[in-house]
């Protein structure tokens, strides 16, 4: 068994009296698609914020590629190869799709903040950016401002932006949220194509998608892990059925 890429050890976080993350431990192996599910308010997004460095946990550690990254801020974690997408799409609206992705390529380049040369026509940035757009099926839309893309396209763009960082792990916060059926199917196919190449932690509400994609499923309820394992076992778990799947009908 390969060394896991991302390991959470007894992570805890409270907002006042409310425990939003309560001793969460989990591990994501290289190439594994690990789904994180749970009812609304289970603390899934808060957990993703802590892993990406946007929130600081009260307790516990986050190991990434064998290193304790708990004290690192968001930009340092990103530079270490931890990419993420957002529940509410987060792109740079006025920049073209290509420039959005090139921004990520730039972060990994040898002179990320160079004052010289026009970045827009820099092939060292644009070539890898086009490849990432191609991988998510957006190469035809490279010159469209991100703000003018459809919702599903913006979701795909966010994934291309994550790929541009040459990440070791990608945190995906509900990539299917608000996406129509056809675009949703395309997104699922995209995630399937990335499976095996990147470690992914997928927060998702769409159960069909989760059970179609995930290698491992972890169920979070009120900030606590109530079950974790392969999709079949988790689906059969009585506690899970009661706390979560039961609600779905």
């Amino acid at each position: 068994m390969a060394e896991p890429v991302l390991v959470l050890e007894a992570l805890s976080k409270s907002f006042g009296a409310l425990k939003v993350t309560d001793g969460v431990s989990l591990a994501v192996a290289p190439g594994e698609l690990h789904a994180l599910i749970g009812p609304n308010g289970a603390g899934k997004t808060t957990l993703v914020h802590q892993i990406s460095g946007m929130l600081t946990p009260d307790d516990g550690t986050i190991r990434f590629r064998g290193e304790d990254v708990t004290p690192f801020n968001a930009e340092k974690r990103a530079r270490h190869g931890l990419a993420r997408t957002f529940q509410i799409t987060s792109t740079i609206a006025s920049l073209s799709a290509l420039e959005n992705v090139a921004l990520g390529v730039q972060a990994k380049a040898s002179h990320p903040l160079s004052f010289f040369r026009n970045a827009a026509i820099d092939e060292r940035l644009n070539r890898p950016a086009r490849a990432a757009l191609d991988a998510v099926g957006l190469s035809e839309r490279a010159h469209v401002p991100a703000g003018s893309l459809s919702h599903g396209e913006k979701r795909a763009l966010e994934i291309a932006m994550a790929l541009a960082l040459e990440p070791a792990a990608i945190l995906l916060d509900e990539p299917l949220a608000g996406v129509g059926k056809e675009e949703g199917e395309r997104m699922i196919a995209l995630l399937k194509s990335l499976k095996g190449r990147y470690a992914m932690l997928l927060v998702e509400h769409d159960m069909e998608a989760v059970f179609a994609l995930a290698d491992t499923v972890t169920v979070l309820v009120y900030g606590r892990v109530i079950a974790s394992g392969d999709p079949v076992t988790v689906r059969a778990d009585p506690a899970v059925r009661e706390a979560y799947l039961g609600e779905e009908g």
Binding site: G53, K76, A83, L103, A142
Partner: protein
Amino acid sequence: MSSATTTAEVTSVAPPRERAKVLLPAILFLLLALAPLAVSIGMPAGWLALLTRALIFAIAALSLDLILGVGGLVSFGHAAFLGIGAYVTGIMITEGRSEALVILPVILGVCALFGAITGAICLRTRGVAFIMITLAFGQMVYFLAQALSAYGGDDGLTLYEKSTLLGFNPFASRTSFYYSVLIALAGAYLLVRGLVASRFGRVLRAARENPIRVSVTGFDVNKVRLVAYVISGMLAGLSGFFLANHTEFVSPAFMSWQRSGELIFMAVLGGVGSLHGAIIGAIAYLIAEDALSHLTEHWRAIFGPMIILFVLFTRGGIVGMLRKLGGRHG
């Protein structure tokens, strides 16, 4: 999809807006280069002095546009840099050091230092707090200048000579003064434009819209903003050098908060973020101010409402209006 077709698409797409971004500044600088000819065909000579003053403020407004329009940081203390540039010039000339190549490095150094220290503090805040703290630092420098009793204090400091450049006197004639400022403005414009288009500039622009996205992409947003703030301050210091030489006088009023407000207005009037808009805005502001003040002594009563109406009814300033007239909007 082959990579050859994607490359072809990239090169074939030349958005009309990109062309406008080259055409308008080119026309602007051409007109400015020809402006002194207007004096030889009958415009009053004072007109060239007014235009020189406008171009000096254009440098300051352009520098402000780098952080305000491009970076999204509303600094209400930008006149402090202008004042520092003017005071360094005034003090050094008074002390017998009038060589521009000695004065300018001192100005750039002092402005960079002041920008780095105040910027590092100001950038810990956002929004209204940022506006207030930049205003506070600006006022601090203002009161410091008032306390400089050896150099005129509240009354200001009169300069009895102008700067020289390697033994030449570029500021001796109106025309050569004008062209000196125009060259500096063109240089500043090309520099800022290059910066905005660079990798650095792309991060600065992206952070204006979505700083969280930029930081989870691996960039230190505050560092990028601080560098922009320092560069912007240094350029404003440069305009202070010309201003002191032009008015042959420096006073604390150069760095009052009203002056900072005027600089913001110049950038907004022209159209924030476009860079050449700040230049057009500064010229329009100074010409309007001059024209109205000749009409009546209560010119501010007309100027104020004009400003309000203009801001209310034009989005994107003068540059935005020109773009609409060109029929390329939408």
